[in-house]
Symmetry: C2
DNA sequence: GCGAGTATACTTGTATACAAGTATTATAGT
DNA sequence: ACTATAATACTTGTATACAAGTATACTCGC
C-alpha cells in the first residue's frame, strides 16, 4: 500500500539512528508537505499502523511530533491533516526572520570568527553538492547553515523554537530543491551569493547587509513557494483524474 | 512517596479534562521549576511510573512534553533534569518579548477594539482575583492576558511558539504569585498598572507606550526571578540538612 | 417511507509484555 | 590488591491487550 507508486520520500541515510517513530514522523511529514496526503484528511492510528507495518506506539509518537509542528490537529477521533498552505510557509519564514534577526543582534556582540569559519565550510560543501547535482545534500547543508548561525548564540529557547520549526523547514526545502535543482542553475547561484552575503554581514557585523540578505532570502523562498504550491495543485488534480 | 510532605503543586481544577500523561507532565513540571526536583537528577520511566502509580505510557508522554519544553534532556539512559536557572527564565522572556513585539506590529494594522475589549475583561477578572486573594486565579488570568494578545493575530507559527513556552511560563508565574500574593500588594498594583498600559498601547496603537510597557513587565519579572531563585536555593539547602 | 433506539465497529488512552542493549557489580584469576 | 571478564539488573523502544467512550449504521416500530 505504501510503496505502490512512490518510494520513500525522506532520505534514508538521514534516518540512520532514528527510531521507528521518528522514521514514521519524517515520512508522514514529507507526504503531508508534498501534498500526497491532502489537507483535511483524517488519519487513524490503527490504519497508519497497518500501512507502515508497525504497532500503534511509534505511530502515536509520530502523531504527537507532527501535532507539535502544526502539520496535524489531534482531535477526539483521529488526527486531521492541516497541511502547509502558502500562508503557513510565509509564517514559518516570519519566525525564521524573527529569530535570525534576534540571533544577529546577539552575535555581533561577540567574536564571530569561529562561526564565520564554520559557515564558510558549509558554503563550500554546498558548492560541492551543486557540482555533483546532489539536491538532498544541498538542502541539508542549506538548513545546517542557518542552524549553525542560530545555535551559535547558545540560547536554549531560541534553539527550542528552531528545533520545532526545523523539520518542516527542512522537508520543505528538500522538496523545493529536488524540483529545482536540475532546471534552474540561476537560482542556485543566487542562493549561494545570498549566503555569502549573509556571512559577510556576520563577519563585518553590518546590520544593513544582514537585512538585505534576509530579505533576499525571503524573496528566493517566495518563488519556491509558488512552485511547490503549483506542484501540489497538479498532484491533487492528477489524483482526481485517477478517481474518475 | 509522592505525597509525603507536599500536596500536589498544580491546581487540580485546571486538570479537569486532562489525560494521565498531561497530569503527570504538569506535576513534574511544577516540581522541576519549583526546585523540588534538582537540576542534574536522572529520572527513570520505571521509577516515575511507580511513584505516580501509573504505567510507563503516560510517563513517556509526559517526558516527551517536558523534553520539548527544555526542562529535561532525553538521553540514552534516563532523562536528566535541566531545570530552570536565571538564564533560562531570561531566555523565555526574550522569546516573549520577541513574539509580543512582532504581534504588536501585526495588531496595529487591524482593528483592535475587540481585543482591547477582551483584555479589559481579563483585567477586571484579575482585579477580582486580587480582591479574593486568589493567587492561582490571578496567575491564570495573567497568562491568559498575554495569550489573548498573541492568539489575536491568528498566526499559526507564533501560536506554536506560544504553546511551547506557555506551560513553563505559566508554572513559573503560578509559583511566583503564590509566594508574593499575600506580601507585596505594591507589586500587584504595579502589575495591574502595567497591564493597563499594555492595553493603552494596543488601543492607541502607540509603539512607544508598548515598548515602555514591555520593559516594565520585564523588570517586574526580574524581581520575581530573584525571589524564586532564592527560594530554590533555600529549598535545596533544606534538603541537604535533611540528609544529614 | 421515516424516525427512534440499539447494536456494532472503530476511536483513543492506559496497562502490560517482551526484546535488545547498556551500565554496574561481583567474581575469579593473577 | 587489582584487573578483566562475566553475570545481573535496569534502561529504552516496540508490540500487544484491554477498557471506556463515540460515531455510524442497521433494525424495528410506526
Amino acid at each position: 500500500m505504501l510503496n505502490d507508486s512512490n518510494d520513500f520520500l525522506y532520505p534514508d541515510k538521514w534516518l540512520s539512528k532514528a527510531s521507528t517513530g521518528e522514521r514514521v514522523a519524517c515520512e508522514l511529514r514529507m507526504r503531508i508537505i508534498s501534498g500526497l496526503i491532502e489537507s483535511g484528511t483524517t488519519l487513524s492510528e490503527n490504519k497508519l499502523a497497518a500501512e507502515y507495518h508497525v504497532s500503534r506506539s511509534p505511530i502515536r509518537e509520530a502523531l504527537k511530533v507532527l501535532s507539535n509542528e502544526n502539520l496535524i490537529r489531534l482531535e477526539r477521533m483521529g488526527a486531521v491533516v492541516v497541511g502547509l498552505t502558502e500562508k503557513e510557509i510565509e509564517e514559518i519564514y516570519d519566525v525564521r526572520l524573527l529569530i535570525e534577526t534576534f540571533v544577529f543582534e546577539r552575535l555581533v556582540k561577540n567574536d564571530t570568527t569561529s562561526v564565520v569559519r564554520e559557515l564558510t565550510k558549509i558554503l563550500e560543501m554546498m558548492q560541492i553538492a551543486i557540482k555533483y547535482k546532489d539536491a538532498d545534500e544541498f538542502a541539508l547543508q542549506d538548513v545546517l547553515f542557518h542552524e549553525t548561525i542560530i545555535r551559535s548564540i547558545d540560547h536554549s529557547y531560541i534553539t527550542m523554537i528552531w528545533n520545532n520549526t526545523k523539520p518542516v523547514m527542512e522537508s520543505f526545502i528538500l522538496l523545493s530543491m529536488r524540483m529545482h535543482f536540475n532546471e534552474k542553475y540561476d537560482d542556485l547561484s543566487r542562493i549561494m551569493k545570498n549566503h555569502e552575503l549573509y556571512i559577510d554581514a556576520i563577519s563585518s557585523k553590518n546590520r544593513e547587509i544582514m537585512i538585505q540578505s534576509l530579505h533576499q532570502n525571503f524573496d528566493d523562498v517566495q518563488g519556491k513557494v509558488d512552485d511547490l504550491w503549483m506542484s501540489q495543485q497538479m498532484l491533487s488534480k492528477a489524483r482526481e483524474q485517477e478517481k474518475e
